[in-house]
Amino acid sequence: MADSCQAAAQTAFEGFFREHFAKVHGLLYRVTGNAQDAEDLSQELFLQLSKREPPVWDTPVAAGWLWKAATHLALNTLRGKRRRVAREDRATRQDLPVRLLSERDQDPAGSLLRKEQRTAVRHALHKLKPQESLLLLARHSGLSYAEVAAALDLNPASVGTLLSRAERRFKDVYQDQEDHHGTHPYAG
């Protein structure tokens, strides 16, 4: 009897894992920029979830807990990166070679360009408030409005407005980077 309960519990956990792992990994990949770090952090989250007492992963609150924990982790990571970006800015005053996303993507040297672009996107995100960055990343990782609201303790009705504001801020910061870069010696 105990064995069959355990087997059922494991099956339920596996189902939960399969349903959520890719999205959690996707969010943490966007935050860390590193597949191995994203995997390690995601695994740690599911491990913590599996140890919750009383068990929650087979209850409706599991997904909420998971998203809260994942976004908390992502926020901390973003805050750390944001501080580092600020320090780098102060230390070097060297702007990243920013190019807006365009037909240059088709360039044969696209790999290097995409890397520069990724760096520029990250740089812009790190200049936003961490919650704004996270809103954009979470939504873009596939979280629904309801999931974003639950994860960030927001009123679901306000998510759309906050997302729009975050998008505008992101666009402004990104555009500023490009404009600033226009005066940079490396500018094409």
Partner: protein
Amino acid sequence: MEPIPMLASDPAIARALDLLAPSAGPDVDGALGRQLALQARSAAPPSGWTGRLALLSRPAVALPLAAGLVAALLVATPARGWAASVLTIFRVQDVTPITVDRVSQPLPNLSKLGDMSPPPGDVRRMQPTQVTSLAAASSQVGFTVQTPSQLPAGLGPQPSVIATTNPSTVNFTFRAAKAKAYLESTGHPNVTMPAKFDGATLTLHIPAVASLAYLPAGANLSDLTATASSAKAGGKPDASAINRLLDGSGVLVMEAKSPELDATGVSAGELRDFLLSLDIPDSLKTQLRSIGDWRNTLPVPAEPGSNLHKVSVNGASGVAGRNGGTQMVLWVKNGMVFAAAGPKLDEAALLSLASSVN
């Protein structure tokens, strides 16, 4: 990965954020397998004294003893032979402080250059076990546990808590593909791991550790439970938690045999050269290069603002000073590594205690 439709008013924003998406979805089946293995390996949640004493094994001063892979890797000794032979390439006979500014430039994560078994998280989760007497502790760790006779005012001659941590072995195998991916992902595509490192192995022998906590008379041991329960399993050494634990004149003494590092496939000189070629701060490279007897000298990381400096403890080489929010002394004597720490002690009191360990 299929782009997620986004209700962005400007498609350029969606395209920009698309750049951060993984190029392919994760291998969920593989990840699930690793998760189940992690759960199987993960011990039951710590409870009772075992859990409480987890903190005692993880003060900042324990870095060279328990979390020493990085430190040990950085001080590998020269080899006398090649490939197939197993070389004991590092053994602690001396210590020296080095300043590591982790904040401005994170150190490379060496565990990402290959396969590590057990994984880093498991190494950090090693749990100490409380024992009831010094004799029992000595039996557990395989050497005679020594005690200080000079203790700060307010501390009794007997340790309030005695604990031991079992020895363990960490196996590491360099993997060219992993190293390449890691170095590229961290923005260092120009740093390459020499081809012969692929498949070379390191074996770090982490010694058994005896920990003795001397707490002020009347210390409320239930506070320890509260402190311990606030610690995250597998977390990094939490100096502030240790400080709370030892608040007042409390002091923690730790003893262990020297950690040792074996290698196959690469010489220690090659290993050292490669590690120094990684993207670590110039100041750290300079400090490491300046260590004369690097074959046997353990660098003790000094946090920014630390005044860690070399000292002599009854003729034995050591370092002492305020580091990571606590006053500490660490010394090496006859192949043994000793450390003592107390947040509110001054250096003279701690050195007096260290000198009296016998």
